[in-house]
Amino acid sequence: MRIKKHPILDFKQKDKVSFRFNGKIIYGVKGDTIASALHENGIKKLSESIHLKRPRGFYCAIGNCASCNMVVDGKPNVRTCITPLKEGMVVENQVGKGKV
């Protein structure tokens, strides 16, 4: 749900950026973070909690709380709320602590 009309801010149409989420190709736009692009695609669950496997989304959106950690290009614990989205990225839900 991109904001189209806003009384103060001007959200110009931006170029599409394609990336993979859990194997499926989806799109964000230039300037997105991984988390904002996923949210736009209706994906709120980013990871599972380590012990109880509860669904986790982002909480702070400023790179602090680690609630948005995901596996990006094979690397776990990436703070997706402050990581810019790049063409061709491979993004996966993180389960557990992740392996390095």
Partner: protein, 361 residues
């Protein structure tokens, strides 16, 4: 390891203003921020600021950000910007460890200013970890920085200024705000903001709190209930709200992790938001040459953070031996500005916090 003159950690209002003062006097600044953009949380603040003209009152946060960035960019030859860089360690010999992408490196500064700001708190309720439960500022980031709506229907928890302002900004983005619940018996932010959202149809419920979020993989509904005068939930008063997003606006906590890791003395002062570094009137921490300013030393407004940034900048210049014209008078004037900003009934908490700290500037 590269040696730098002044390293500033955090490019929000405090860090940017400190950088400006230091650059203006002829010194070199390395400005580090974990985000892509400079400006800290000013980037999402589309509302006009209160306070005094000296701190750009009546201008929008996002415009103030651009003013500050233009100010420092005028000194590009002496300014190094390390964005998307997280400071992951800080040591007493003024060495800091940084991580930019996969690259790890160390820097040493003659002086260091820590202006890391704060992060949003949460409160306990059933399923408060469910996706769709977001900090109010996070929703502000999502909407105002990235242009994405957090959901269709929101319940806001907390009636401080952030809760009130973000409710208004949700409405501006075309999101429904079903209700704003406040546990206290009265609204805690400015009434001018509260009246504005009330006029637009937001139901402000005082002595009310969230009992639980309901949903499988994300929020589908929320249960709220009334609180009695001892802040306990009243059985039987539960109400179901049809919302997909919960915004939590229950205050901020200073980001003092680096201070604690450094070994600078930290004290718990509730009125300032929790653990805060011990500082003297010059904003120097207990580690010589390491300064701290802005929300990390006590939760206030961006306007006071900017003034503290100026004060810290001038004091750092003094340490480094720079002769700044009329520095003494300027410092005195800035301390007066802080006193003015901390005046009035809404700042009583900050005042008592500074009393506890033993410094009421």
């Amino acid at each position: 390891m590269q040696e730098k003159e002044v390293i500033i950690v955090g490019a929000g209002p405090a860090g940017l203003m400190a950088a400006y003062k230091i650059l203006e006097a002829g010194a070199n600044v390395t400005l580090i921020d974990r985000n892509r953009n400079l400006g800290g949380q000013l980037i999402k603040q589309t509302h006009k600021f209160f306070g005094s003209e000296k701190q750009y009152a009546s201008k929008r946060g996002i415009d103030i950000m651009n003013i500050l960035i233009d100010k420092i960019k005028a000194y590009e030859d002496r300014l190094e910007i390390l964005n998307e860089t997280s400071v992951v360690g800080m040591y007493k010999d003024k060495v800091i460890a940084c991580l930019k992408g996969d690259t790890f490196f160390k820097l040493k500064g003659k002086s260091i200013i820590v202006a890391t700001g704060a992060s949003e708190k949460s409160i306990p309720f059933e399923n408060n970890d469910l996706p769709g439960v977001y900090a109010a500022g996070a929703v502000q980031t999502l909407m105002n920085e990235y242009g994405v709506k957090p959901g269709d229907k929101v319940v806001m928890v907390g009636s401080g200024n952030i809760g009130l302002i973000v409710s208004y900004q949700l409405l501006q983005a075309g999101v429904k705000v079903k209700a704003l619940v406040e546990a206290a018996p009265k609204i805690s932010g400015y009434l001018v903001h509260a009246s504005k959202i009330q006029r637009l149809g937001v139901d402000i419920k005082t002595s009310t709190s969230i009992k639980k979020a309901i949903g499988k993989d994300s929020v589908e509904k929320v249960e709220i209930w009334d609180l009695d005068p001892t802040w306990q939930g009243i059985e039987g008063s539960e109400q179901i709200l049809d919302v997909d997003t919960v915004c939590i606006s229950v205050g901020l906590a200073p980001l003092t992790e680096l201070m604690q890791q450094l070994g600078a003395e930290v004290r718990y002062i509730k009125e300032l938001g929790g653990n805060v570094p011990v500082i003297d009137a010059r904003y120097q921490t207990t580690v010589k040459g390491v300064y701290a300013c802005g929300d990390v030393v006590g939760i206030e407004e961006a306007s006071s953070a900017m003034v503290e940034g100026k004060i810290t900048g001038l004091n750092v210049l003094e340490d480094l031996g720079y002769n700044v014209l009329d520095s003494r008078q300027a410092l005195k004037a800035y301390h007066e500005e802080l006193k003015f900003l901390r005046d009035g009934p809404h700042a009583s908490k900050v005042r008592s916090g500074y009393l506890k700290r033993g410094m009421l500037t």
